[in-house]
C-alpha cells in the first residue's frame, strides 16, 4: 500500500467513524403537552451527540394498551420508553427494561439527587430496594384547578358565606371541596349554567381509579396490611375505605356536569377551559396549559393540592420514569440520552419548557416555588403522593378496580361495601394466580 493510499484510508476512516456511531433513537411516550416539550428539549441532545431522535407518541387512553403490547411482543419500536409508574414491576420482572444500577454508578448518577417519592414511584423494583430500572423523568400528581375569578366575586362570596357560614376559599378538606362544588352546581354565571367540578370517571383505561384513590386514601383505604404483604381484608374494604368510595360517588352524583360518566384528563380539561366547571381534578401536567389559556389562564385560575380527608392527606401519584428497552439494538445510545437528560442544566430547561423535573436541584432551588403560579402546589402535592400497585400483574389489578368502582360510582349498582368486597375477591384471585398468596 502506498503512502498516499494509507493517508486516504485513514482520512476515510476518520470521516466515517462519527457517521457509524450516530444512531436513530426512538423514544416512546404518551401524546400530551409535555411530549412536545421533550421534542424541543431533545434537539440539544441531537446536536450534542449526533444521534437522531424519533418519537412515538400514543394518546393516553391507548397508551398502556399499545406500549404494553409492544413490550410483551418484545418489539423493537422503542429504544427509550417513558412508561407509567405502575409498569415498573412488569418491566423489571418480565425483562422488558434494562437494569440501570451499573450505569448509574459508572456515570455518577445518584438517586439521592431526585425527589424520593419519584424514585420509589418511577424507578425502583421491588419497591424500597435499590434496584433501578428507570430514571425519574416527569413528576406528576393529581391536584385541583379552580376558577379564582369566580371565587373572588363579591356576590358569590356573599352567597356562599350565607349558605355555608364560611368564606369561599380554597378548600382545606374534601368535605369543604364538596360544599363548594355543590354551591356552584347548576349556578348561573354570566348567563351560563355552570357545574361544580369535573372529576375522573373514565372506565376503559385507568381514569376512575386515578380519581377515586384521591378520596379513598384520605378516608383510610390501604392497598394491603403494611405488616403483611397482600393481606387485603380489612384494608381495602375498611370502614374508612367504604366511606371514601361513598364520598366519591356523592361528589359525582351531586356536583359534576351532565354526561360526565366517562371522563378522563382531556374531557376534564376541556370542561374547565370551556367554562363549564368551577373546579377540575387533573394531573399537574395540565397546569402550564391552563395558565397559558386565553379564556381561563393567568389570574383567572388557581391551583391547590388534593384536600385532606378524615384519615390523612394524600394525592394520587402520576408521572413516569425513562427506561431503556432491553430489546433495543441501540442501548448504548439510549443510555447516552439518559445520561444527558439527568444533567441539572437539562433538567432546569425541562422545567422551563413545561416538563415537571424530579431533580431536587431544580425543585429545591429557592426560586422554584415562585417560578410559576402552580410551582408551590406541585411541591406540596409531591410531598403527599401515594401510588397504585406496581406489581407485574398491575393491569389485571387496575382493570378489576376500574370495573368495581365504575359499577358503583357511575352505574350506581350495589353498595360501596359490596364493590370493595368484590375488589378483594378479584385481587385475591390475581395474587393467587401470581403465586403471591
Amino acid at each position: 500500500m502506498t503512502r498516499n493510499a494509507l493517508w486516504a484510508a485513514t482520512a476515510l476512516t476518520a470521516l466515517a467513524a462519527p457517521a457509524a456511531m450516530a444512531e436513530e433513537l426512538t423514544l416512546c411516550w404518551a401524546a400530551w403537552d409535555p411530549a412536545n416539550a421533550l421534542v424541543e428539549l431533545s434537539k440539544e441532545f441531537e446536536a450534542e451527540s449526533g444521534h437522531t431522535m424519533r418519537f412515538e407518541f400514543v394518546p393516553w387512553p391507548n397508551f398502556a394498551d399499545r406500549m404494553l403490547n409492544e413490550l410483551n411482543s418484545r418489539g423493537q419500536l422503542c429504544d427509550l420508553l417513558i412508561g407509567d409508574s405502575q409498569w415498573i414491576g412488569g418491566g423489571a420482572e418480565n425483562g422488558h427494561y434494562v437494569k440501570l444500577n451499573d450505569f448509574f454508578d459508572a456515570e455518577g448518577i445518584s438517586m439521592d439527587d431526585f425527589i424520593p417519592a419519584t424514585v420509589t414511584g418511577y424507578a425502583e423494583w421491588p419497591k424500597g430496594t435499590p434496584n433501578y430500572w428507570a430514571l425519574p423523568a416527569f413528576g406528576d400528581v393529581v391536584g385541583w384547578t379552580y376558577r379564582k375569578d369566580w371565587f373572588e366575586r363579591p356576590e358569590l362570596q356573599a352567597a356562599f358565606a350565607e349558605a355555608y357560614g364560611r368564606d369561599l376559599a380554597v378548600p382545606q378538606s374534601l368535605a369543604e371541596l364538596k360544599d363548594i362544588a355543590e354551591f356552584f352546581q347548576g349556578r348561573e354565571i354570566d348567563g351560563t349554567t355552570v357545574y361544580g367540578a369535573s372529576i375522573y370517571t373514565e372506565r376503559g383505561s385507568e381514569g376512575v381509579t386515578m380519581g377515586v384513590t384521591n378520596a379513598l386514601y384520605n378516608f383510610g383505604f390501604q392497598y394491603e396490611n403494611p405488616d403483611a404483604p397482600y393481606e387485603l381484608e380489612g384494608y381495602v374494604n375498611s370502614p374508612g375505605a367504604v366511606a371514601g368510595l361513598e364520598f366519591y360517588k356523592s361528589l359525582y352524583d351531586c356536583c359534576t356536569p351532565p354526561g360526565s360518566s366517562n371522563w378522563y384528563m382531556s374531557e376534564s380539561v376541556d370542561a374547565y377551559k370551556s367554562g363549564q366547571v368551577a373546579m377540575q381534578m387533573n394531573f399537574a401536567f395540565i397546569w402550564p396549559g391552563v395558565h397559558a389559556d386565553p379564556n381561563v389562564g393567568g389570574d383567572k385560575s388557581g391551583y391547590f393540592p388534593n384536600p385532606q380527608g378524615p384519615a390523612g392527606h394524600y394525592a394520587q401519584l402520576g408521572g413516569q420514569g425513562i427506561s431503556v428497552v432491553s430489546y433495543s439494538d441501540s442501548q448504548d445510545a439510549a443510555l447516552q440520552y439518559i445520561k444527558w437528560f439527568a444533567q441539572p442544566d437539562v433538567q432546569s430547561k425541562w422545567w422551563n419548557l413545561g416538563g415537571y423535573s424530579a431533580l431536587r436541584a431544580v425543585v429545591e432551588d429557592p426560586d422554584f416555588a415562585t417560578s410559576q403560579p402552580y410551582a408551590q402546589t406541585f411541591l406540596d402535592s409531591m410531598a403527599i403522593v401515594k401510588d397504585f400497585w406496581a406489581e407485574p400483574a398491575y393491569a389485571e389489578l387496575l382493570l378489576a378496580m376500574q370495573d368495581r368502582v365504575h359499577t358503583y360510582v357511575i352505574a350506581g349498582q350495589g353498595t360501596a361495601q359490596e364493590a370493595l368486597d368484590m375488589l378483594i375477591e378479584d385481587w385475591t384471585e390475581t395474587f393467587e394466580d401470581e403465586g403471591k398468596l
Binding site: 394498551d65 404494553l68 403490547n69 413490550l71 410483551n72 412488569g90 418480565n94 425483562g95 373514565e202 372506565r203 376503559g204 356536569p257 351532565p258 354526561g259 360526565s260 360518566s261 366517562n262 407485574p392 393491569a395 389485571e396 382493570l399 370495573d403 365504575h406 359499577t407 358503583y408 357511575i410 352505574a411 350506581g412 349498582q413 394466580d433
Partner: protein
C-alpha cells in the same frame, strides 16, 4: 392448437409445460393434479384457521400468560369451570343477548317495512334507496364518535329531539351514562346503521317474487292483506332469514361501535362478550383463560348458527 374434447386436465397441463416437467405430469392422475391445485388453499386454511383453533383449544387448558416468562402448566378444565361459574361473565352474556335480540327484532321490522315501501314504484325511488343505505357505508368508529356527540346531554341533538317531544329537560338524562338507557343507546345506533342492510336483502327477496303470482292472486280476489301474508312474507322469508343470520353473527362479534360509544359502561351494562374477551386476552393477558372463553363463544356461535342454517334450509325447501 385447440384441445381435443378427450384431453384430460393432465394432458392439457402437460402441453403447456416444459417437456421434462410435462413427462412427470403426464404420469399423474386427475385426482393428483386436482390435489396439487387445491393444496395451497388447504395449506393456507390449515395455517390461518385450523392451526390457531387447535392451538387455542390447547392453550385453554393451561395457565399461560403471553406477557410472562414463566413455565406453562396444564390445569385441565379449570379455566372453563371459572368462566362458567363467573357471574360477571354471565352478565356480559346477558348484555350480548339483550343487544342481539333487540337489534335484530327492530332491524327486521323496520328493514322489511322499508323494503316493502321502496319496492313500490314511485318517483325518487332510487334516490331514497341511496339515502337510506348511507349509514351502513360509514365506518363504525366514525358512527360511534358522532353518536357520542349526539347523545351528549348538554349539546346533543338526540336529547333535544327527545326533549321536544316529551318536554323533559335535555340535560336531565344521559343516554350513554345511565344504566337503564345505555343498553338502548347502543341498540339505537346499531339499528340506525344496519337496518339498511336488512332492507337491501329484503328488497332483493321482494323483487324476486314474480308479478304473475300477485296477478293470479288478484284474479282469485285475494285481498292485499292476504296477498302479503300468503305470498310476500313466505317468499321473502328465506332472504329475511339470511339477513338475520348475517346480522346475528356480526352483532355477536360487535366491538368497535360499542367501544366508541360507551366503552362497555356504565359499570358493565354494555360490556358485550367480545369486549370482555379482548380485555381478558390483551389487557389482563390471561391468555389461557381467554382461550377457554373464546372456545366457549365459538362453540356457542357455531352451534346456534348450525341450527339456524338447518331451519333456513327447511324454509327454502318449502
Amino acid at each position: 392448437m385447440t384441445d381435443t374434447p378427450a384431453a384430460t386436465p393432465a394432458d392439457r397441463l402437460a402441453r403447456a409445460t416444459p417437456p421434462r416437467v410435462a413427462r412427470k405430469i403426464r404420469g399423474l392422475s386427475d385426482r393428483a393434479i386436482a390435489w396439487i391445485f387445491v393444496a395451497p388453499t388447504i395449506f393456507l386454511l390449515l395455517a390461518v384457521n385450523i392451526f390457531p383453533l387447535i392451538w387455542t383449544i390447547n392453550l385453554s387448558f393451561t395457565n399461560f400468560r403471553a406477557n410472562r416468562n414463566r413455565e406453562v402448566e396444564y390445569i385441565g378444565f379449570r379455566n372453563y369451570e371459572r368462566i362458567l361459574t363467573d357471574s360477571d361473565i354471565w352478565l356480559t352474556m346477558q348484555a350480548t343477548a339483550h343487544f342481539l335480540f333487540w337489534t335484530i327484532l327492530i332491524q327486521v321490522l323496520i328493514g322489511f317495512t322499508l323494503a316493502w315501501l321502496i319496492n313500490r314504484k314511485f318517483r325518487g325511488n332510487d334516490l331514497w334507496t341511496t339515502i337510506i343505505v348511507l349509514p351502513m357505508m360509514l365506518s363504525p368508529a366514525v358512527v360511534g364518535n358522532f353518536w357520542t356527540f349526539l347523545y351528549q346531554p348538554q349539546i346533543g341533538l338526540f336529547n333535544y329531539v327527545v326533549s321536544f317531544f316529551t318536554g323533559a329537560d335535555p340535560s336531565s338524562f344521559s343516554m350513554i351514562g345511565q344504566v337503564n338507557l345505555a343498553p338502548w343507546a347502543i341498540v339505537i345506533v346499531d339499528t340506525w346503521m344496519w337496518t339498511p342492510f336488512i332492507m337491501l336483502i329484503c328488497l332483493a327477496g321482494l323483487r324476486s317474487i314474480p308479478d304473475y303470482i300477485y296477478e293470479a292472486a288478484e284474479v282469485d280476489r285475494a285481498s292485499p292483506w292476504r296477498q302479503f301474508w300468503t305470498i310476500t312474507v313466505p317468499m321473502a322469508l328465506p332472504f329475511l332469514m339470511l339477513a338475520v343470520l348475517f346480522r346475528g353473527i356480526e352483532n355477536f362479534k360487535m366491538f368497535d361501535l360499542v367501544v366508541q360509544l360507551t366503552g362497555g359502561g356504565p359499570g358493565s351494562v354494555t360490556e358485550l362478550t367480545s369486549i370482555n374477551l379482548k380485555r381478558e386476552a390483551f389487557e389482563k393477558w390471561r391468555t389461557g383463560y381467554a382461550s377457554a372463553y373464546a372456545v366457549i363463544l365459538f362453540v356457542t356461535v357455531f352451534g346456534l348458527a348450525s341450527i339456524y342454517v338447518k331451519a333456513l334450509n327447511k324454509v327454502k325447501e318449502r
